[in-house]
Amino acid sequence: MPAVRMRGITKTFGAVCANSKVDLDIYKGEILALLGENGSGKTTLMNMLSGIYFPDEGQIFIGEQEVSISSPREAFGYGIGMIHQHFKLVDVLSATENIILGLPGKLDIPAAAKKIREICSTYGFDVDPDQKIYEMSVSQKQTVEIVKVLYRGADILILDEPTAVLTPQETEKLFAVLRKMREDGKAIIIITHKMHEVEELSDRVAVLRHGEYIGDMMTKDTNAQEMTNMMVGRAVTLNIERPDPVDPKPRIVIEGLTVRSADGIKRLDDVSFTANSGEILGIAGISGSGQKELLEAVAGLQVCESGSISYLDESGEKHELVGMGPLEIAGLGVQLSFVPEDRLGMGLVGNMDLSDNMMLRSFRVGRSPFTDRKSPRKLAEQVVDDLEVLTPGITTPVRRLSGGNVQKVLVGREIASAPTVLLTAYAVRGLDINSSYTIYDLINRQKKAGVAVIYVGEDLDVLLELCDRIVVLCGGRVSGIVDGRTADKNRVGLMMTRVGGGEERADS
C-alpha cells in the first residue's frame, strides 16, 4: 500500500507543459530517487505534493483518502515536508525561529529550542538553535531545513538536489541520516543528478522525461547507463573524455596571490600555481574557499593585496595582470564564465533576450555610435543550434529558460569569443547529466584548441575525470596540487577540509 499515490497529474505554465499525466507511487520505509533532465518537471511535481503549486488536473491520494493540497500548511498537515534546492530560510532569524515559522500557538523560543536539541540528538545533527542563518555554512543551513521538516512531524520527506552544495564528507553524513530515517519508516524522495548517489542511496528510481512519467524500477536491478538512457530517451555514452594535453606551455602563472574582502577577511592567502595551455586545471574546494575571488582576481574584478598574476602569450611575452582593468584583461583573451548559485547573477541579464545578452560581450566593437545588432543575433542562433538550447526563440528573455539552457547560453557566448584562457566556475551546477556532458564536451574542445581552461567544480568525481591537474583550495589557501589521473577521491576530499589533508601533510 503506497503512502502517497499521484494519478494523472498535469500542470502547465502558460504554453509550457511542466507535467503531463504523471502517475507516481511513494512508499514508507523506502528512498525513492526521482530522475530526469533539467526541465523534465521533477521539481514542479514535488512542488505540487508540498502545496507550492496546485495541479491543473489529476488526483493525489494519501493512504486511502483523496486529498487536495492547496498550501504548504495543508501539506504539513498530511505529513509532507520538502527541502527546496534554494533554501527557504530567513537569513536574519535564528535557527529556532526559522524552524517554528508558520506554526500556531504562543511563541516560546526556549521550549522550541529544547525540542530541536532532542531531534538533533536522535538523528545526530549538529545545529545550534540560537545561531543566525546568515552565520551558517551551506550544510548547516540544509540541516536546519531538515530539522524544520522533522519538527513538524513529517513522515514524507522530499529533498530537491540536497547534495549539490555539499562536500563528499557532508554528503556521506546526510546519507547516513536519510538511511536512519528510512529505518524509522519515513518515505523519502530525493531529486538528484548524480548517478553514483542514486545507486548508493536509493531503493527505487522513477524517471520523468519532458514532463511525462517514463517508468520506475528497483535500483538494484538497474545501472547508471540504463537510467540515463531512460532519462534522455536514447542511448548516451557516460564517459568523460580526457585527451592528453598537447604541447602544454605556461599561460597563467600565479605567485603568492593574497586577496582580502571588503570587510578585511583574507579570502586568498599566498596562492601560487600555473595554468598551462591545452590543459584543464581543476579547482576543488568547499564552496566559499576562495574560488570566486581567485577567478575574479584573474579576470581583474578583485583588488589584489599582494602577489602577481602573469599572462604569457603565444610568443612567451609576459603581461602582469594585477593592476589591469577587466576590459584590458579580456582583450588579452582571458574570458570568465562564472555561473553563480542563482545562475543569472553574473554574466547574463535575465530580462534581456538571447541576442541582447550576446551583445553584452560585443557592444564596444566598431566605431559607429550605433551597436551592431546583426552579429549578436547570428551568434545567438549559432549557440542555440550548436548547443541544442531549448528556447522558443532568440527573442525570449533569458530568465524564462530552464537552468541548463541558461548555462549553455552563458558558456556558449564565452567560448564564441575564442579565448586563450577560459575561466569557468560551476559550469554544470544543477545541470542534468546529458547537458553536463554537452558542457564537458565543449570544454574539452577548447582544451584541444590549446586554450588554458581553469575549471572550478563542485562534483569531485567529475573533477577527477575531466581535469589534468587539480588545485585543492581550503580556506583560501592551496592545500595541494594533484594529478587528475592518479588522485584519490577521499584524499582530495580531506585536503578540501584541511590544508595538506591532515596527517598526510608530512608526505605531501
Binding site: R73, K88, D91, V92, P104, L107, Y134
Partner: protein, 331 residues
C-alpha cells in the same frame, strides 16, 4: 540657556505626528511594503477627522456643550476610516495587482494631499470665513484635555502630564508594536513575510493576509498622526498644506530607528525638538540664522542615513524583500 520645561512639551507635541507616521510605516515595511504614500495617508487621516468633527460641531448648537465621547469618537472613527481606505487602495494595487510600490506610494501621496486640500478648501468655503482655515476649537478642547494634576505638579507635570490622550496613545501604540514585532508569533511571521515571502509561504503563512493587515493597520496608525496634528498640535485649526513635509520625515525616521518602534518614541521627540529648536536658540539680529537652524532635522537625517549604511550589521538592514511584490508561481 534652553528652557527645558518649555522646550520638551513643544518637542513632544512636534514629534507625535512623526511617531504615529513612523510606527505605521515600520509595521508596513516589516511586511515588505514600502509605502511612500504615508504623507498622503496622514493628510487623508487629518481631513477625514476634520470632516467628521466639522459635521458634528455643526449639528450641535453653538451654546451647548459637546458630548465628549462623540466629540472624540466621531473624528477618531472618521480618521481611521479614511486612512483604512487609503491602505486598502494601496494594498489592492501593490499586493493584489502587484503594481510597483514606489510609483503607487508616490501617487497615493499626491492623491492624499490633493484630497485633503480639496475637502479642506470646500469646508472653508462652507463656513464662509475670512481666513483660509477652519477652526474646530470645541472639538480640539476635548482632544486636548490633560491629566488633572498637570498644572499642580510643577515642571514634572509640564514635561510628563501636559498632553492630550493622543500623545499617550501614540507612545502606547509604539510600545505595543515593538513588543508584538519582537516577542510574538504574529511578529515573527510578519518579519518573515517582509524578509523572504517565499520562505514564509512555504511555512504556510498567509502572505496576502499579513501584507494587507500590516499595511492597513500601519495606514490607520499613521492617519492618527494627522488627526493629532490638527486636533492637538494645531488646536483644531485646519489650513491647506499646513502639515508640510512631516510625512516624509516620518518615513526617514523608520530608517533612523532601524525599524524599531520603541526607539521611534525617543527618535520622534528628538526630531520634534530639532524641528523647533530654532525657536529656542538665540539668533541675535540676523534672522537668516533661524532658517539655517530649520535645516537641522534634514541634516541629521542625512548624517544618520550615512551612518546606518556604514554600520553593516545584518539585523539593522531593511527587510530583505522590501518593495518587492510576491507571486508564488513566478518562475
Amino acid at each position: 540657556m534652553l528652557n527645558f520645561t518649555a522646550f520638551i512639551p513643544r518637542a513632544v507635541a512636534q514629534g507625535m505626528p512623526l511617531l504615529y507616521g513612523s510606527t505605521g510605516e515600520t509595521i508596513t515595511q516589516k511586511a515588505g511594503n514600502l509605502n511612500l504614500g504615508i504623507p498622503g495617508v496622514m493628510y487623508v487621516g487629518a481631513i477625514s477627522g476634520v470632516i467628521g468633527s466639522f459635521l458634528y460641531e455643526r449639528s450641535v448648537v453653538a451654546s451647548a456643550a459637546l458630548n465628549p465621547a462623540l466629540a472624540v469618537g466621531i473624528p477618531l472613527l472618521s480618521c481611521l476610516f479614511g486612512s483604512l481606505v487609503m491602505g486598502l487602495i494601496y494594498c489592492f494595487l501593490t499586493v493584489t495587482l502587484r503594481a510597483n510600490q514606489n510609483v503607487t506610494g508616490l501617487a497615493m501621496t499626491t492623491f492624499g494631499v490633493g484630497f485633503g486640500n480639496f475637502f479642506g478648501g470646500s469646508l472653508i468655503k462652507l463656513t464662509g470665513a475670512d481666513v483660509p482655515s477652519i477652526t474646530l476649537s470645541r472639538t480640539s478642547n476635548v482632544f486636548r484635555t490633560v491629566l488633572p494634576f498637570a498644572n499642580s505638579t510643577g515642571w514634572f507635570g509640564k514635561v510628563f502630564l501636559s498632553y492630550g490622550f493622543l500623545a499617550y496613545l501614540g507612545i502606547l501604540i509604539a510600545l505595543i508594536a515593538a513588543h508584538v514585532l519582537k516577542r510574538t508569533r504574529t511578529g515573527l511571521h510578519l518579519r518573515a513575510v517582509g524578509e523572504s515571502p517565499a520562505t514564509a509561504d512555504a511555512a504556510g503563512i498567509n502572505i496576502t493576509g499579513y501584507k494587507y493587515a500590516a499595511t492597513c493597520l500601519g495606514c490607520m496608525i499613521a492617519g492618527l498622526g494627522g488627526l493629532y496634528y490638527v486636533m492637538d498640535y494645531m488646536n483644531g485649526v485646519w489650513s491647506n498644506d499646513a502639515f508640510g513635509d512631516r510625512g516624509w520625515l516620518a518615513i526617514a525616521l523608520v530608517i533612523f530607528t532601524i525599524w524599531r518602534p520603541d526607539v521611534g518614541i525617543f527618535a520622534s521627540i528628538l526630531f520634534g525638538g530639532l524641528y523647533i529648536l530654532y525657536l529656542f536658540l538665540p539668533t541675535g539680529e540676523n534672522l537668516s540664522v533661524k532658517e539655517l537652524y530649520k535645516m537641522l532635522p534634514y541634516i541629521v537625517t542625512i548624517i544618520v542615513l550615512i551612518f546606518t549604511s556604514i554600520r553593516n550589521k545584518r539585523e539593522n538592514q531593511p527587510p530583505a524583500s522590501l518593495g518587492l511584490a510576491y507571486f508564488r508561481e513566478e518562475r
